[in-house]
Amino acid sequence: MDPFLLAAASACWLGILTSISPCPLATNIAAISYIGKRVGTPGKVFLSGILYTLGRMLTYLILGVLIVAGMLSIPDLAYFLQKYMNTFLGPILILVGAFLLGLIRLNFSGSGISERIQNRADRYGIWGAGLLGFLFALSFCPISAALFFGSLIPLAVQYESEFLMPTIYGIGTALPVFAFAVLIALGTHSIGRAFNKLTQIELWARRITGVIFVVVGFYYLLVYVFHVDL
């Protein structure tokens, strides 16, 4: 097998390994529920999944290029991201969760305007999946830091591939989440259609996602801000 192809396959495997390790489990659950929550329209689930993947790819691509170009030192960057990103993820997740639960609303006035805002929020919701991917990829935990900075970057340097390797790694990290989200959404979709209850299920999916975000947010606050050993 071509060594470059083998390296690309390793990059993808490193990504999958990152994603299935226990430490990003909480954010993965949040991502799965966020991507899969539009059970009524599988197309949107698919699009959210693609955007989530693109978001993760973008993070690793930017970091990879900056590191390989020698513009950022690995220890500084790794410790900065591990310390601060996880700290701020908690509050962000709680706020997004509160928004999904309808505790924070965007509509301030009349029905026509509120409908327009609702549509816009819907569109932003899909783009939000991309933002979520970008953000979640930035919040490194020990194992993702080890695999990205310690295994993937040396691979990218060795094969002079600071664009392709981080991109493939990004796809690998998103793959399990994407697959789960699509499977769950498709399953729920067919059940919902069989019982003619799609709208109701979608409403509940949104609420459940909101609750998951708040719970994961509090988990991150307790672990990374209040240093509770969970």
Partner: protein, 172 residues
Amino acid sequence: MKFQSIVIAILVVFVSVADLWALKPDKQAGTSTEKETSATVLDSNAASTDSTEPKKTPEITHKVVAYYFHGNRRCVSCRKIEAYSREAIESGFAEELKAGKLEWLVINTDESENKHFIKDYQLYTKSLVISDIENGKQTRWKNLDKVWELLRNKEDFIRYVQRETRAFLEED
């Protein structure tokens, strides 16, 4: 509506408190109960001043130190890496440990006196580093970065750590 306002108010207060907490200088070093040392890298024979038994003998000119570096937050995988590494070292090199040719040190890099290790060994996460010391000077070191990939296979993990450590010990 009232209920929503109350929930939002609680959330805002909680998030603000959390952020203020997060931004305050990190002083809670040493949350772990384990004995941790604050050794310096290049000061070899004096490095283990915190050890329970005086291992150094003047005749030893070549010595290998196995460092496990961690921070205040100890994750499940990180504890596993530490336990496996310790087991690999203790089960494979009991003689060398006794003779002072090999030393096992657990170091918290979140403690200010240990922060230099991050730059010295270009650390990016919890790591196992093997350092070779000849006549008080570090001659080479290696970050055993495969430990994270081998975490799911204890046998391979232990074999890998022992092989790398042995290579350092045999070099004289």
